[in-house]
Amino acid sequence: MARAAVPGRLGDRLRWRIAEVAGRRVESATAVTLTLEIPDWPGHLAGQHVDVRLTAEDGYSTQRSYSIASASNGRSLDLTVQRTSGGEVSPYLVDELVPGDQLELRGPVGGWFVWRQQQTEPVLLVAGGSGLVPLMCMIRTREAAGSRTPFRLLYAVRSPSDLLYGSELRQGAPGLDTTYLYSREALKDSARPPGRITPEDLARGGWPPDFEPTCYVCGPTAFVEKTAAYLVLLGHAPERVRTERFG
């Protein structure tokens, strides 16, 4: 396992900042994207997350991590939050926040689950549900940088109506191949029956191990455990498989 590099500006990164909700976009029945304006945002790498802190009137506070969905532009960032029913924080972010509200956060955090545009090897992205968020940031960062690095995305999601960023992904980008793996309900004309991710899915939609791709796997714990184990079974070196778990 290689050492992860730390981006600089430490003191600046760690400061709690107050962001303003500038936009709210519904992504699916259970997910929204919040655009947050942060005047002095230091920028971020693709794959990093922020820590969000909510504080009640009596001073009680709690924190959660959310991946950054948008490519770094220096002013604002997008978070895409999936509602966990009964959850303490995600229903608040999805249902309660409206443009004009403020939200406390700090970051960017994370130096290992990141893609940098200097990387030239092929990339395999494997997303389970809302695990797509940091991977979408990598796709958008690649596009914004005009990078030609070949990307393949395998996106496991319950049904077509649960897709995040559906139209953007459908539109695609040169050098990005996207495969949808529906687990419960597939499109009518789809050749693959609905079901959980399999080693065949990864062999078909991914890269041969001898291309030495870097693989990024993100999603719920069970999905990440299984997918990472399959990738190693298929011959990918464990140190080329980077994982992030939301569970």
Binding site: L14, L54, E96, G111, L231, R245
Partner: protein
Amino acid sequence: MAFISRGFHGRRPSAGTKLPPGQYETTGFPVLSAGPTPRIRKDDWQLSVTTETGKRHVWDWAGLMALPADSPTVDLHCVTKWSKFGTQWQGVSLDVLLADVETSAEHVLVTSYGGYTTNVPLADLVDGKAWIAYGYEGGDLAPEHGGPARLLVPHLYLWKSAKWVSGIELRQSDVPGFWETAGYHNYGDPWREQRYQGD
């Protein structure tokens, strides 16, 4: 003025429990790791303690099982914000493993199968504060939670409790491990909320 999140009420921890700042209670057992779970057979498993002079002490699985075991019940605090109360473990205290080791080192670099590393002051591994744990809630420790054996240092954030532990290197000087190099705190005390460098 302190910031208030409009319309946020929050959930309070259950009675009788105390959460470190910024944490929430979970009854599940989430997983944090940076890559695939290594699969290590007990037959192939070894744990070494290496001193600053290079002297190595090695235990295989049978050797570990032959040592007196403890059954600590401890609270876990993960830097990804979850805390889990009252977890039951079985394992060997580091005091037992280090009893015959001669050292004047103050720092430890813990290494794992799969290449993970983390650094901990030696003082935090002795006096009943740390174990090599191989049992969880009455069964074997599952691979995704660090089995066959992991370090357990419950008073620090859980990334210090290296899963799939393979070595304890006693050192004169401190070197940052995997997450510490990636900007996480060198010490990681959840009660002082030492998540990141500079906290």
